[in-house]
């Protein structure tokens, strides 16, 4: 570090300025990455948070609420009957089923049981999650505006169907900075289905920073030697060689700094040092070899496969332990337009045991109380079958009007059940929760008034919840 009085003056100037959104935060961190790492934006969060970090277990493709969480025993007797018009009310369906001559009701073939003191109804597909029933707050009355994957996932992640807004994780890393100067504040991990699930593509924009600075975008972690892009030294370059080279770069940059006095040069020197630290901290984080066998047993057989959802769940815990603010997993393969029973079994095999192990471990290690865990997809699935309906097989189309999602951890009321849908799991009939409401509530748990976490762009103060969002009090512990 260069204790240059001129730079000190500059830093004071920048930090002393009133908060003008991105500018102040970015400039402050330019001068010292440690500052932003610790502080985020001055004045944030707005109040003491219940949760310090988020783990978002995103189930991409839209899991069927009817086969997992939203138990509708009455539907058995409705098998293959037409969905009454009084339920559908002419609402929009996708072009994939709008030409179907009928909308035959497809009751779930899976059995449900009640679990825990909470009495959550859960399907046989989620035996491990069921053990955690009393830790979960299940929302059965989620609803969204989008009916197709791309806009739906974009809405879930950024609060708008139109591309270009910052994602939830980037809002948080903007607002809070990082607790760990050697790791990004917002980490994303993507996994594919182990079986033959119908996977929908994902887009980087879903963890993009929109009009916030690129420094807040999610950093994708991958399995392999380069968990973060370009992290590993080039072949033939040892850590000692790299250190020597960085010292040379820093020496030359300091000569330039003395000549030009531009604080940006000091910032660059600091960023190279941080890059070097990441080269040891990230591999240490990503290295699961020192995890005991019992951990892998707990997370299930897939957890030994690098890049699997289960392995990513172990990594999520390790990231949480190291103070990463926003850890987002995406598991693809939930888009079950046909062969739903077979595909959902394999999806649940992928996610049930590892997800339960993650929540369980967080709890045992005392991390669950200040970690907010969310599990869910971008919308729900239709009660009527898409394509051929038989006693053992059916498909389900997209359904935006209701879906289920669960939360656990920091500030969440354990065992709560929020909302209700009609007998067909078609319309919400009690306590609807829009994605904006969910985001408002999650931000509240993180210490933010969602109406005041704003950034000026194109003359307007934007926020994650746009102009919507009510805190769902029933979620709060």
């Amino acid at each position: 570090m260069n204790p240059n009085p001129f730079l000190e003056m500059t830093r004071r100037q920048f930090l002393g300025r009133t908060s003008t959104g991105i500018g102040a935060a970015a400039l402050a961190s330019l001068l010292n990455p440690q500052i932003s790492a610790a502080q985020g934006v001055a004045g944030l969060p707005h109040f003491a948070p219940k949760a310090k970090r988020v783990i978002w277990l995103t189930q991409a493709g839209a899991p069927s609420q009817l086969d997992l969480f939203d138990y509708k025993p009455g539907l058995r007797s409705q098998y293959n009957k037409d969905l009454p018009n009084s339920v559908r009310k002419g609402q929009r369906v996708t072009g994939m089923t709008s030409n179907q001559p009928r909308f035959p009701i497809a009751p779930s073939i899976f059995t449900f049981k009640q679990y825990g003191k909470a009495g959550h109804w859960l399907s046989e597909l989620l035996p491990h999650t069921a053990h955690l029933a009393d830790d979960l707050c299940i929302i059965r009355s989620m609803h969204t505006d989008a009916i197709n994957h791309d806009p739906g996932m974009t809405l879930l992640q950024t609060g708008s169907q139109v591309a270009g807004r910052p994602s939830f994780g980037s809002w948080l890393s903007y607002g809070l900075g990082s607790d760990n100067a050697e790791l990004p504040a917002f980490v994303v991990m993507v996994s594919r289905p182990s079986g033959s699930g119908n996977a929908q593509p994902l887009h980087e924009r879903m963890w993009g920073s929109g009009f916030l600075s690129a420094r807040y975008q999610g950093v994708r972690f991958s399995a392999g030697k380069d968990p973060v892009l370009f992290l590993a030294n080039s072949p033939g370059i040892t850590p000692e060689r790299r250190r020597a080279m960085l010292d040379d770069i820093a020496g030359l940059n300091r000569i330039k700094l003395d000549d030009y006095q531009d604080p940006e040069i000091q910032a660059r020197i600091d960023q190279y040092e941080m890059a070097f630290r990441m080269q040891s901290s990230v591999p240490e984080l990503a290295d699961l070899s020192k995890e005991p066998a019992s951990v892998f047993e707990r997370y299930g057989p897939e957890s030994r496969k690098p890049g699997s959802y289960a392995a990513n769940c172990i990594l999520a815990r390790r990231l949480a332990e190291r103070g990463v603010r926003f850890i987002q997993l995406y598991h693809r393969g939930w888009d079950q337009h046909s062969n739903l029973p077979a595909h959902i079994r394999s999806q649940c095999y992928d996610i049930d045991q590892p997800g339960a192990a993650l929540v369980g471990e967080l709890k045992e290690r005392g991390l669950l109380e200040d970690t907010l865990v969310l599990w869910g997809g971008e919308f729900g699935r239709s009660v009527y079958s898409q394509g051929q309906l038989t006693e053992t097989d059916y498909g389900r189309d997209h359904h935006p009007r209701c879906f289920s999602l669960w939360l656990a951890g920091g500030g969440v009321k354990p065992g709560a059940i929020i909302g209700e849908t009609d007998d067909f799991s078609y319309n919400v009939i009690k306590d609807p929760v829009h994605i904006h409401d969910l985001n408002a509530t999650a931000l509240h748990l993180m210490g933010f008034d969602h109406t005041r976490l704003t950034v000026r762009n194109q003359g307007r103060d934007y926020r994650l919840t746009d102009v919507h969002g009510e805190i769902v009090q029933a979620i709060l512990a």
Binding site: T94, R220, S234, M245
Partner: protein, 783 residues
């Protein structure tokens, strides 16, 4: 602009660059509405007391003087000129009563004591309103000192009022590197530097500028910013994100800049080239501008929903690029800050609503022809081939012999095959007239009133002679009576060279945008731009030949304390290069750059596995790097997949290219450092740069170091730098001699070959040194 229309135009603002002005003002300072008042009113009041009638509270609007000064429903006068004590506005902002205080708590807007004083003083001084500066006709202010370059005259006038002095001129080497990177996005060669340094005749610098403006690389450099504005990409963007073909349009942009096409014509051809009388193929290709938006091919989507997206995107992009107005706000409601209505939005949409497009791409077709309308643009060779097959088909049809039928079917098949290889370019047409309705709250199936193609009500009206179609719209846009396009465009040129626009908010010249730092200068430049015949090269030449541009960019404590962001320009610009040019420079310095202009996009080195994690369907789901020369093309030719954009460019703040972007952020992050250190692109470039040092840099270590340093930074290293470089080289050589395996591995990165006769340890140590050079702050920076 008509006076009656001006009355309706009252608004703007923001950041606090010159806040010191208001806070430090003495009691006698004259408040100016546009500078001092509008920013406060717009940000804190207009949301409820501004143009949007649907959210207006208490029927009060403060954006219009006659409204703000009349008696309200509750019987008070918000503003009484000259009498702050009688003005209810003053009472309401000063009161301690929480229920009475404005802005109300729930608005989350708090007026500072200084702002309250400013408002009070303005009313005391007579509460004079002004029309928002950006909507006023462009004046051509007198040049303060005619002996100077006009840019310098305006800049120095302001510096003098702030008691600051312009810096001395940068040295010639710094200067030629600066202007070369700015105008062609590549570094100067050592020979170019030498020529300039030794050219003692008057006009040496101007000769460099003219050479650069005539370079074919100038068009490539200019295209980069235009591609951001036009949201250019090589894929459709939604869901499976299949490929599209629009590079033909991208190449048109490069040609247009190189030919120095007038900016008004450049505008007309891109918006309505297809509607020009006897339009040429080139003019039709130009209309690809408005097909650059994302296109959905997802199964089950409602075509009308996405048709509404595409047309809205065209309105928003056009309004941003040419008017710097935030029309996206008016898609769902009247504007909160600026005098535009929802009707204006949909009336503009009507211009873009007659394209023979489907709303949804046809996923069953090859991706290049799934979204009509498009234009086949075969190369001459392919055209000749097609013609030959067609002739043969004709002959076969007339041939009565027995084998002819079989031959015919073969020929038809090969015709189809060749046709599939013909490049197409998405274009606009006017083939499907549609009715246009206001969409309530912007929702695609909530139809409101029907509208027709009209320009926004408060702007200068369209001439009666103009057709009510895209061609009329384009001509209206660039009519000299429209004050915005020229101001907005010269501001972007300023931003490109100086790092920040005269108006910082290049995309928002409305009420919430920032007022210009130099109002007279932006007007003078806009007037000059128009009177020069919308001459882009002449305008850039004027800017880069100014003494302001040519100043040294070294920081001085006095100027930095007074003006930390250098908006007053008491020194030259110094900031990080755009990602494209960081890479292009490395390729050029190493000699790897393949200078071919245009053509299909290429796939340089790219980390493995990124696509596979997230892609699906029949798009490009696996990234297969190009081979040979396509690995080393300029970065603007890099294949741009919207769902997984080039990761290195993203680290350097490239936009996703999903929506129009006129201003990139400039971050400085550890991930950028990792990219420059470890990306095979730069490791390979380092090896080739090392080879140049060894083969072309003379026989002494020192001469080689100097040569390498010059290739990258244009200048020779100083003694202290040479000391570090020599020690660095010594140590690396020792280490690589002791570990030849490591040296060999290091030299294997990248496809380009190096001379096998070079000693492995020597080449490795020079490669290490070259990598050091490519990672210097100075290298990534224009200074």
């Amino acid at each position: 602009m008509k006076a009656s229309l001006l009355d309706a135009l009252f608004i703007a603002l923001t950041f606090m660059v010159f806040e010191a002005h208001t806070e430090e003002s003495s009691p006698t300072t004259k408040m100016e509405f546009n500078r001092d008042i509008r920013p406060i009113l717009s940000d804190a009041c207009f949301h409820c007391h501004g143009p949007d009638k649907n959210t207006r509270k208490a029927s009060l609007r403060l954006d219009l003087p006659e409204e703000a000064m009349k008696k309200t429903e509750s019987g008070v006068f918000p503003i009484v000129p000259g009498q702050p004590e009688k003005s209810d506005l003053v009472r309401r902002i000063l009161t301690d009563d929480k229920d009475e205080r404005m802005p109300p708590t729930k608005a989350h807007k708090v007026l500072s004591t200084a702002q309250k004083k400013v408002l009070r003083k303005w009313i005391e001084q007579g509460a004079e309103y002004q029309i928002h500066w950006a909507y006023l006709p462009i004046s051509r202010p007198p040049i303060p000192r005619v002996s100077l370059n006009p840019v310098d005259a305006f800049i120095r006038q302001k510096l003098a009022t702030e008691n600051l002095q312009a810096a001395e001129e940068a040295n010639k080497i710094t200067l030629i590197r600066r202007v070369t990177l700015d105008l062609i996005g590549l570094p100067p060669t050592p020979a170019e530097v030498d020529t300039f340094v030794h050219d003692a005749a008057p006009g040496a610098y101007e000769r460099v500028v003219d050479r650069l403006l005539a370079s074919p690389h100038y068009g490539e450099r200019m295209a980069v910013d235009w591609l951001d504005a036009a949201r250019y990409a090589d894929t459709n963007g939604y869901q499976v994100d299949r490929d599209r073909t629009l590079y033909v349009w991208r190449d048109w942009v490069i040609r247009a800049f190189n030919a120095n096409q007038r900016f008004d014509q450049f505008t007309i051809e891109q918006i309505a080239g297809d509607l020009l009388p006897n339009s040429t193929i080139e003019q039709r290709i130009a209309t690809g501008f408005n097909r650059n938006h994302m296109i959905n091919e997802e199964g089950g989507v409602t075509p009308e929903e996405f048709l509404a997206e595409y047309t809205a995107n065209r309105v928003e992009t056009t309004a941003t690029v040419w008017l710097a107005q935030t029309f996206n706000c008016t898609r769902c409601h009247d504007h909160k800050f600026d005098p535009f209505t929802q009707r204006d939005f949909y009336s503009l949409k009507a211009f873009f609503h007659n394209v023979s497009e489907k709303g949804v791409g046809d996923y069953s077709k090859p991706s290049n022809v799934s979204s009509p309308p498009f234009l086949p643009v075969p190369t001459p060779v392919v055209s000749a081939g097609l013609a030959a097959i067609q002739t043969e088909i004709k002959q076969a049809k007339q041939d009565p012999s027995s084998g002819a039928k079989e031959r015919l079917s073969k020929l038809t098949k090969s015709l189809a095959e060749v046709e599939e290889t013909v490049p197409v370019s998405l274009v606009m047409d006017e083939a499907t007239p549609r009715e246009t309705f206001i969409l309530l709250r912007g929702v695609f199936d909530q139809l409101g009133e029907k509208v027709t193609a009209t320009t926004p009500a408060v702007m200068p009206p369209m001439g009666d002679d103009l057709p009510r179609d895209r061609l009329g719209l384009a001509r209206w846009l660039v009519d000299p009576s429209n004050p915005l396009p020229a101001r907005v465009t010269v501001n972007r040129f300023w931003q490109m060279l100086f790092g920040t626009g005269l108006v910082r908010t290049a995309e928002d010249f409305g009420s919430q945008g920032e007022p210009p730092s130099h109002p007279e200068l932006i007007d003078w430049l806009a007037a000059e731009f128009i009177s020069s015949g919308w001459n882009i090269k002449a305008t850039l030449r004027l800017l880069v030949t100014s003494a302001t541009y040519r100043q040294s960019s070294k920081f001085t404590p006095a100027a930095h304390q007074r003006d930390p962001e250098n908006r007053l320009l008491a020194r030259g610009p110094r900031f990080r290069l755009q990602g494209e040019f960081v890479r292009d420079q490395a390729l050029a310095a190493s000699g790897l750059l393949m200078e071919k202009i245009g053509g299909p996009s290429v796939k340089p080195y790219h980390p493995a596995g990124l696509y596979e994690q997230v892609t699906e369907g029949s798009g490009t789901t696996v990234y297969v790097p190009s081979k040979g020369e396509d690995l080393h093309r300029r970065s603007l030719y890099t294949y741009w997949k919207r769902s997984v954009p080039n990761p290195a460019m993203m680290l350097f703040d490239s936009p996703f290219r999903e929506a129009c972007v006129l201003r990139r952020p400039r971050t400085n992050t550890p991930l950028q450092a990792l990219n420059l250190l470890n990306d095979p692109t730069y490791v390979e470039a380092s090896r080739l740069l090392a080879q140049r040092m060894l083969l072309e840099g003379g026989s002494s270590i020192e001469s080689r170091l100097i040569y390498g340093f010059r290739l990258v930074t244009a200048r020779a290293p100083r003694p202290a730098e040479i000391t570090i470089l020599k020690m660095s080289l010594d140590r690396a050589l020792r280490e690589f001699n002791a570990d030849p395996k490591a040296a060999a591995l290091f030299l294997k990165v990248g496809e380009a070959t190096t001379d096998g006769k070079l000693d492995v340890a020597v080449l490795a140590s020079y490669t290490n040194l070259a990598s050091t050079l490519l990672n210097l702050d100075e290298t990534a920076t224009k200074e």
